[in-house]
Symmetry: C2
């Protein structure tokens, strides 16, 4: 089985792009990825593309052929949708496609436009990632769902809003130098605590923003890289996916995310590494509590101890295991269908040493990306390693 | 590389199911597939699920975890969307997953609910499979788009409405004994010709209906089948996928479907067979002209000769190459996200000899399924063969 290498990564600035079309955003990300990779577009064998709510936000389904055209590739193109894990699943299938020899080069990524919806439209659009019959019609929105998870966590393990505010403040701090981040503004713990409530115990600065943006990765086989003198020092060595019951009411425990734990176990096994080997991670912090749950599901902290990870410094930029050096969904932004690809792009930059925050992880060899859909009914975990 | 076998197939009746939920429909199809297969659900390694317009029709995205629950499987679950080829892509990835050894057993299929929308809602929903910016906003609907293709075909090659009426009449005839078909009513060539116009030259009986329904397949490796005494006499020996420009205005020719030709070439190469080896086919006849184009793209007739295939008897039930013995999308119905799986289910039944129309193809060894998305911007082709 060949090793999969990240030959190139490309991102748009995350934020509000009212003047841009979805295909324009993905084209920009793809252009950057090809320029970074030095790979010919004619060599691309497949396009795996993530998008979540294009049917609602842009009245556009069937986006894969459009994005193949936007990226100027001629090959089978497939859209993946797994809510906020859409691009993670697209990347995972790309990894498996290269490994199986079906293609030597795959373009993978995603795009979402969300800011063209008003707040109500975006909230309703995001809600299609929850169970319409048994959650949404009962009034559940995503801030409400994650608030339930935060309350369950506090009840099971303790912790409080101030612990969560440390997550927010850390990720805003990390986003400051990131040229692709939506918010490059510092937020203190006090400011986070003082922000208006959204769904108690979650306040405004516990939530990620509504974002437009795109991500693209050029993944190649190690043989292709060698034969074509492609500089691709980072390998995707592990991939895993997990699925849980959709509705929170159907789960035994709201204070943990077993789909992410399943995905992590599979990805670690695949890579032959464990949590203790990980030097840096990008995790799905759509809400601050989600980062806490991710840190535990990935095995970086025991159940009940993830809540203290940011406050105590484990996951800060100069901690033992920096989490979300990109700024995370929280501050970098969360264009839903692009996020899973963006995480891999940021990790690749961090491991290559060309990320503005690489200085915090100069010796990092192993990185983990954690992408979740809905209230973690879906999860995808990837392990990246420096290969050369 | 292991051979992939179809261990079991399951369908709901296609039609109008106003009292059923989507998960209920998929559960029924999955129940039938597992009963047919005699495979334990615990052995399922992945679920690949196709759905097109759930965000619009049911306010439900992120359907894969819901359908894993409905089918009572615990495994990574992924939704594929490629317009009307959504389930075809889901099946294709399932085939590749079994071949690569990632899983020995994959549940693949799809579901669509459409009749809960009114005609305008369904037409608008289907339109998200076309280019919103450059087609839909200019007034293009799918009947209109296929009417343009029919006009281009007539102009390039000749043919007329009566040729198309033979396709409609043939497929309605084929659907008569099919217990899963939406329309089990004969339609004569004259009745088809006399039906009201929708978009000239296409009339009502040139179009497939709006349909609710689900499909499910249990795909296994040949080793799994042998070790578990699973009777799975039909193999999926070829898979191919093609992608074209989305907008009709961007294509060189409207009288052919190169994405389907690309998919067919890849699938035939994969299986090591050619069009002359094929005994029976299920093709994507969302409109009668689409069957004509499919017959040519699959190599069953030269360009310009597919128009006569039904009229002259090549593709009738007792012709040399029966096409759409199930009744096709035209008469069996077209629950968009389920159709690609339904075609494989029907072909499997035909090749096993347990389809009500198997009597027409008693010696069939090789079958082909052709599933298309949009105006064939996406296409997936599979080759099935009797393995034992």
């Amino acid at each position: 089985m060949t090793e999969v290498r990240v030959a190139g990564v490309g991102l748009t600035r995350f934020g509000s792009h009212p003047e841009r079309t979805g295909r324009d955003l993905f084209a920009e990300a793809a252009d950057r990825a090809f320029a970074d990779a030095g790979v010919e577009r004619d060599d691309v064998g497949e396009l795996n593309y993530g998008n979540f709510m294009g049917a609602l936000a842009e009245h556009q389904g069937h986006q894969a052929p459009l994005m193949a055209e936007a990226a100027a590739v001629r090959c089978p193109a497939t859209r993946y949708e797994s809510a906020c894990a859409s691009a993670g699943v697209a990347v995972r299938e790309a990894v498996r496609t290269v490994r199986s020899g079906e293609a030597d080069v795959v373009l993978a990524g995603g795009m979402e436009r969300m800011t063209n919806l008003d707040t109500e439209g975006a909230t309703e659009g995001l809600a299609i990632a929850a169970d319409d019959l048994f959650e949404v019609r009962a009034g559940v929105t995503f801030p409400g769902a994650y608030a339930l998870m935060a309350r369950a966590y506090f009840e099971a393990h303790g912790g409080d809003r101030e612990d969560l505010a440390h997550v927010a403040s850390k990720n805003h701090e990390n986003a400051l130098p990131n040229e692709y981040a939506q918010f490059r503004t510092a937020v203190s713990v006090e400011e986070a605590l003082d922000s208006p409530p959204v769904a108690e115990p979650l306040h405004l600065y516990d939530a990620c923003p509504i974002t437009d943006g795109a991500s693209a990765l050029v993944l190649v086989s190690e043989e292709y890289a060698a034969e074509n003198d492609v500089d691709a020092p980072v390998a995707v060595t592990g991939t895993g996916q997990g699925t849980d019951r959709m509705a929170l009411a159907d789960r035994a425990d709201l204070a943990s995310t077993p789909a992410a734990a399943d995905a992590a176990t599979a990805a670690y096994d695949d890579a032959g590494v464990g949590p203790a080997d990980v030097d840096v991670a990008e995790v799905h912090d759509c809400f601050t509590i989600a980062e806490v749950l991710a840190v535990e599901s990935l095995g970086f902290a025991e159940p009940g101890e993830g809540i203290a990870a940011a406050r105590d410094g484990l996951t800060t930029a100069d901690g033992d295991l920096p989490v979300n050096l990109s700024g995370g969904l929280k501050a970098k932004g969360h264009p839903v269908g692009a996020t899973g690809g963006s995480q891999i792009a940021e990790l690749t930059r961090l491991l290559r040493g060309d990320h503005p925050n690489s200085e915090h992880v100069p010796d990092a060899d192993v990185g983990v990306a954690h992408n979740a859909g809905g209230t973690v009914a879906s999860a995808v975990v990837h392990v990246l390693e420096v290969a050369e």
